[in-house]
């Protein structure tokens, strides 16, 4: 590859990336707002101990939660220690990582509304299904 070609490709890459910068900045600003506004012990007090409501709550909270995946495992581990059911904790962790309500507008802008909505909906349902299947499988092992 010639130097000129490398330069051309680099400029092309920067141009593509430049177009996406406003969207990424918007998402990061939303994430920062969420982290600041939502208190850290919020998740501990929200679960009610119901076998059906808690997994749904877990998946819903995980969907709107934002942060590093590692944070979801720490919170999930602590929730488990506080007596929250394993199904609810798994649903919470999985939807935290795979569903992004706050990123949805950005995802829709890049991949299309239908794609973004469908992907997030599938991820939400999968979080619940995996939570049930994992708990069932573990009960047999």
């Amino acid at each position: 590859m010639t130097l000129l070609r490398i330069k051309e490709n680099f400029i092309k890459t920067l141009k593509s990336f430049k177009q996406i910068i406003p969207m990424i900045l918007g998402v990061i600003m939303l994430v920062a707002l969420f982290i600041t506004v939502v208190p850290k012990d919020f998740y501990n007090v929200i679960f009610v101990g119901n076998k059906i409501i808690d997994p749904l709550l877990g998946a819903t909270l995980g969907s709107v939660a934002i942060g590093q995946p590692v944070t979801s495992y720490i919170i999930g581990g602590e929730l488990l220690n506080h007596g929250v059911s394993l199904i609810a904790v798994i649903a919470f962790i999985l939807s935290w990582v795979t569903v992004g309500v706050f990123q949805l507008p950005a995802e829709a802008l890049v991949f299309g509304k239908k794609f973004a909505m469908t992907r997030n909906l599938l991820s939400f349902v999968s979080a619940l299904a995996i939570a049930v299947l994992t708990t069932l499988t573990l009960s047999f092992l």
């Binding site: 920062a32 707002l33 994992t134």
Partner: protein, 171 residues
């Protein structure tokens, strides 16, 4: 085509302006909280910067070495098992927030990457090798193996469902 492109870019700018407006409203209601959020934004930006560089590098590699023909062969309609494997491993190995990968995946998609593989890539971002010790500490090794198995399985199921039931273009 150009109209769509410009509409998409305007949408991204409007999105940013709406978020800025949200900060301004918060500043009027609760200035210390808005300031704290803005400082958290700067901190996040600092943390994410290396990922920016990584994504730009991947996009550069994609522009330099992969043309539409190559991408269609590896990640297109007839990619087969190879396509699934690339998206699973790519999703597991990718780092940083998922939105950082939008530009790169969007480019691959424009060059012929299947929607199913994009979905599979995103789902496998839930499987993180770096988090495994933390997962084992809290939940035990059996749990980690079972959960990882289901996550990978559902990443494929979600990819297939995306194309089958919702009839999103497999091109």
């Amino acid at each position: 085509m150009n109209k769509d492109f410009s509409k998409k870019n305007n949408g991204k700018l409007i999105f940013l302006l709406l978020v800025i407006a949200l900060y301004l409203i918060l500043a009027l209601v609760n200035f210390p909280l808005a300031k704290q959020s803005f400082l958290a934004f700067l901190q996040l930006l600092k943390q994410i910067f290396p990922i920016f560089a990584l994504v730009v590098f991947f996009m550069f590699l994609s522009n330099s070495f992969f043309n539409a023909k190559k991408i269609t062969r590896s990640l297109g309609k007839n990619a087969g098992i190879k396509g699934w494997l690339i998206s699973i491993i790519g999703g597991i190995l990718s780092t940083g927030p998922s939105y950082m990968w939008y530009p790169f995946l969007s480019e691959l998609k424009e060059h012929g990457m299947r929607d199913a593989f994009v979905v599979t890539f995103f789902y496998n971002r839930a499987v993180k090798i770096s988090i495994l010790p933390m997962m084992i500490y809290y939940f035990g090794p059996t749990f980690v193996v079972v959960l990882t198995f289901y996550m990978i399985l559902f990443s494929i199921i979600n990819g297939i469902l995306m194309e089958k039931f919702f009839k999103i273009s497999p091109e």
